[in-house]
């Protein structure tokens, strides 16, 4: 394992400090318990708090700022944060509009956020993201993971919250965006958790893991390396099958947001090639791609691989996607 680190125990705090220094205009870092919050807390709006294990950067701290999150609680690498982090963050930033937690659907995150929510005296609600359609049997809701689609949820709800909307409305929009978003990922290599010091999974020089999770969890199956078009085709098919299963109405010419997300070690050149492949396929399926995002937005440490996310748009979601946002990792319109 070759990584830019000093002591294993300091990886997280040094990285967070670097982030907070580099974006001192946007965020504040609080320690013990650790959380990051907006430099200029917005009053009179629902406070959006997300968080999760570290190693998915820029998720979530990179999305703190105007039009998106109010705070983020980073856990250790791939380990959910602890309830005191969410509790303290919420108490720090909450207005009387309440707090909305945005939580990726993993047992650890769910339970730790749940405990924080139970302890919190401020009115609060939670949106669980579960866009990963790699897990075939969706009756096991536990197994349906929140992955890159979380960024779309955070962006849209962030926009709505900025208008002073109610907690219930924010939660409803978050759930709507989540349902309309499906994602599927593929790994070319494993990631390496720094403290573990070696790859999470072994994978052959000519193998790929279809449907991998953003922690290197095994996916649908292990297959031979293929052409990009074949890989993307499997992802797109899985996504469209998932849309069908979710009974998303695809009448007329559906409009979608296409997010091609790198897992950390895949160069932009390949991500754009994937985008080209996915957009070409989707066009054939009659879907119009009217919004796009390509880059490393929900990573898995140093994993080589990528995921494709597709969000079925409507006017409301488009409006909130397009509205101004000013964070470390997403910025437009201001």
């Amino acid at each position: 394992m070759k990584k830019f680190i000093n002591k294993l125990d300091d990886v997280l705090i040094e990285s967070l400090s670097g982030f907070a220094q580099a974006h001192a205009d946007l965020v504040n870092l609080s320690l013990n318990p650790h959380f990051l919050s907006r430099k200029k807390p917005a009053a009179n709006k629902v406070a959006l708090i997300s968080g999760g294990g570290s190693g998915h950067e820029p998720l979530h701290a990179g999305y703190i700022g105007y039009g998106m999150l109010d705070a983020a609680c980073p856990g250790h690498v791939f380990t959910s944060p602890t309830p005191d982090q969410m509790l303290t963050a919420a108490e720090h930033i909450a207005s009387d509009k309440g707090v909305l937690f945005i939580v990726k659907n993993y047992a650890g995150d769910v339970m730790n956020f749940e405990m924080a929510a139970e302890m919190l005296s401020v009115e609060n609600a939670t949106v669980y993201t579960s866009d990963d359609c790699a897990v075939v049997n969706s009756t096991y809701t536990e197994g349906r993971r929140g992955v890159a689609g979380t960024v779309i949820v955070e962006k849209c709800v962030g926009s709505l919250a900025e208008t002073g909307a109610s907690l219930a409305d924010c939660k409803a929009l978050g759930e709507k965006v989540n349902v309309r978003t499906s994602s599927m990922g593929v790994a070319l290599t494993s990631c390496t958790v720094p403290a573990a010091g070696r790859p999470t999974f072994a994978i052959g020089d000519n193998e790929i893991e279809m449907g991998v999770g953003i922690h290197g969890e095994p996916g649908r199956h292990r297959v031979k390396m293929q052409e990009a078009d074949a890989i993307v085709n499997e992802c797109v098919k899985a996504i469209l099958a998932d849309w069908q299963q979710k009974q998303l109405c695809l009448k007329g010419q559906p409009e979608a947001l296409l997010l091609v997300n790198g897992f950390g070690a895949t160069p932009l050149m390949e991500l754009y090639l994937i985008y080209h492949s996915a957009a070409t396929l989707l066009k054939k399926h009659g879907i119009a791609i009217s919004r796009s995002l390509v880059g490393n937005y929900t990573t898995a440490l140093d994993m080589a691989g990528a995921s494709v996310s597709l969000c079925l748009l409507d006017d409301e979601i488009k409006h909130h996607w397009d509205s101004p946002v000013h964070t470390a990792a997403l910025r437009w319109g201001c």
Partner: protein, 215 residues
């Protein structure tokens, strides 16, 4: 039982976890995200380093402190669950005069119930509960039958191991492995493995003849 036993137990558990690095790590790498060993080490370390503040406390207060400490240091699924276990067990912990195998078994069971509640899980879902539920039942049963501590400990160790082995052929329906379907088959559950290690370490300590007089 005294708080001193708790601290010795914590050290024994820590040693057992460190000794089983390879096993714990490879299990969570196989069907999880590879952090379970690190989480367990961090948790054990946190408890052991509380020695000074714990020694003067009653067992119940110490258990509660441990639970709160785990809650804020562990993280992950195992963090929320194990913290809940300790906090709930502490609430049910018998007073000094009422301490006996059965009252301890009931407190233990309260901890296990808390895990079930928090994790919305039961037996056969390929989690730590596949060790904890049978152990708790066995513990209560033998304590009700007023069996000797060494005998109870031995039986619990066997039950824990059996529960652990049972996870091998299960499909997971809770936790991170729930996405794997058939691919989880053939792997032990990491949380079950660490519970088995913890229970074994504590039971070995408790059944050791020297301890019946020391604590």
């Amino acid at each position: 039982m005294h708080t001193a036993f708790l601290l010795d137990a914590a050290k024994a558990v820590q040693k057992s976890i460190l000794d089983n690095e390879a096993a714990l790590e490879s299990l969570d790498r196989a069907i999880g995200d590879g952090d379970h060993y690190i989480n367990m080490v961090r948790g054990a370390q946190a408890i052991v380093s509380m020695e000074d503040e714990l020694t003067s406390l009653s067992v119940a207060l110490a258990l509660n402190k441990i639970g709160l400490k785990l809650l804020s240091t562990l993280g992950g699924a195992s963090g929320a669950l194990m913290a809940s276990f300790f906090i709930s067990m502490a609430k049910q912990w018998p007073t000094a005069e009422n301490t006996n195998p059965l009252s301890i078994a009931l407190a233990f069971d309260a901890g296990v119930q808390a895990i079930m509640l928090r994790g919305k899980a039961g037996l056969g879902e390929k989690t730590m509960l596949d060790v904890l539920i049978p152990v708790s039942q066995q513990f209560k049963l033998l304590a009700e039958k007023k069996q000797s501590t060494p005998l109870i400990c031995k039986a619990i160790i066997d039950t824990a191991d059996q529960g652990l082995q049972n996870t091998r052929d299960l499909i997971a329906t809770k936790g991170r492995a729930a996405g794997l379907g058939e691919r989880a088959i053939g792997h032990l559950d990491p949380g079950a493995k660490s519970c088995q290690l913890i229970i074994t370490a504590i039971c070995q300590l408790a059944s050791h003849p020297i301890n019946s007089t020391r604590y």
